[in-house]
């Protein structure tokens, strides 16, 4: 039974595709800037999954593909969060600047 199972597993094509899609989504979202670590990890996992496929270790390949996808999705989520926070910080900064300028100009008045 064991040998039978190990001899004919198909490559985890769907998982590999999902991982690839997740990575390119992250790349498009500019994850290289906001979540470079996660994006790199996702790419390494995907490469390892491909290697596992060539070694006919399909269980390993499937898990690595799933991990790659999870990592890539995390990269995208972190990128979105980073961008959203950056926008808010910029807004806050400009508000602070306005208030600061006002304070200074009112300080000038005798």
């Amino acid at each position: 039974m064991l040998t039978a199972c190990a001899s004919t597993p198909p490559a985890p094509t769907a998982s590999l595709q999902s991982a690839r899609r997740a990575i390119s989504n992250a790349e498009r979202a500019d994850a290289g800037q906001y979540a470079a670590g996660e994006l790199g990890e996702a790419r390494i996992k995907l490469a390892s999954a491909d290697t596992a496929v060539t070694e006919k270790n399909m269980i390993m390949a499937e898990r690595l593909a799933e991990e790659s996808r999870a990592e890539a999705e995390l990269a995208s989520a972190k990128t979105a969060a980073g961008k959203a926070k950056a926008v808010n910080e910029e807004m806050q900064r400009s508000t602070d600047t306005l208030i600061e300028e006002m304070r200074r100009s009112s300080g000038e008045k005798p």
Partner: protein, 288 residues
């Protein structure tokens, strides 16, 4: 590793084949505690779920993370599979947190935007106020300046009146009559001091004014004599002023002799009027 894997597979097989092997399971699977790392994933998830700012902001992702953590927590004899599930659980919790943070930031944006708008409005109001007060200040200043100018003009008029000078196109003209000179001579007599001291006061008060001193005579005597006499009388006024501290560079003299009478020379009164020294004080450059 291999042996564990094998025993895991064997175990499952045993389970499927004979569900009565519960005792055996307990015996063989002394290992099946929660996989390493599952507790950390759970703890991260709990933290996220109890954060009031984040808990409700990524419901779907949190649900998925919850499922992944639960899967990771399942006792698993296959260490690689266990590690795989813990890995997935950890990433899904992180992803859920990042999504919730994104949503939180987006939700805060409206407030930030309102804050910025009110700051901008305040700044603009303030700018307008400052401009308004600057206009008011400028107005007050110009009123002040006008008042000062009026006061100066009034003061000048008082001085001119005190001097008993005439305002003419040439400037202020102060006429020193013949009676202030010794008869037929250029020397000033004692009565001249009063008139001349008023002139000194005036010139000290208005130091930017130049003075032309012109001597005049009547027609009696030769032209040359009259010219010289008028020149000497003008010089004599000049010397007096210099002695009183008026800068000589402000003073010019001119002897005009009998050339410029202001009355007829055929009567004694007319001739006396013609014998005079005129002090012409230039108008101030700033004054119209």
């Amino acid at each position: 590793m291999k042996t564990v894997n094998h025993s895991g597979v064997l175990l499952r097989t045993t389970l499927i084949v004979a569900s009565t092997a519960a005792v055996l399971l307990a015996a063989c699977a002394a290992a099946p505690v929660k996989p390493a790392g599952a507790a950390e994933a759970r703890s991260k998830l709990t933290q996220l779920q109890s954060d009031p700012n984040l808990a409700n902001r990524a419901p779907l992702a949190i649900k998925e993370a919850e499922a992944a953590v639960r899967a990771a927590e399942q006792p698993q004899a296959d260490n690689e599979l266990a590690a795989h599930r813990v890995y997935l659980a950890d990433r899904k919790v992180e992803t859920a947190r990042a999504q919730a943070e994104t949503r939180l930031a987006e939700d805060q944006r409206a407030a930030l935007s309102a804050q910025r708008e009110s700051a901008r409005l305040a700044a603009r109001t303030r700018e307008a106020d400052v401009a308004k007060s600057q206009v008011a200040t400028a107005r007050a200043e110009s009123a002040e300046q006008r008042l000062a100018a009026e006061q100066q003009a009034a003061e000048l008029q008082r001085q001119i009146d005190a001097l008993q000078a005439k305002v003419t196109d040439r400037g202020l003209v102060l006429t020193l009559g013949d009676v202030l000179f010794e008869t037929g001579k250029a020397d000033l007599n004692a009565g001249a001091a009063g008139s001349l001291n008023k002139l000194v006061t005036f010139l000290n008060k208005y130091p930017d004014r130049m003075v032309a001193i012109e001597g005049h005579t009547d027609s009696v005597g030769s032209d040359e004599y009259n010219q010289q006499l008028s020149q000497r009388r003008a010089e004599s006024v000049r010397s007096y002023l210099v002695r009183q501290g008026i800068g000589s560079e402000r003073l010019t003299t001119l002897g005009k002799g009998e050339s410029d009478p202001i009355a007829g020379n055929d009567s004694a009164t007319g001739r006396q009027q013609n014998r005079r020294v005129e002090v012409v004080i230039s108008n101030a450059p700033a004054l119209r």
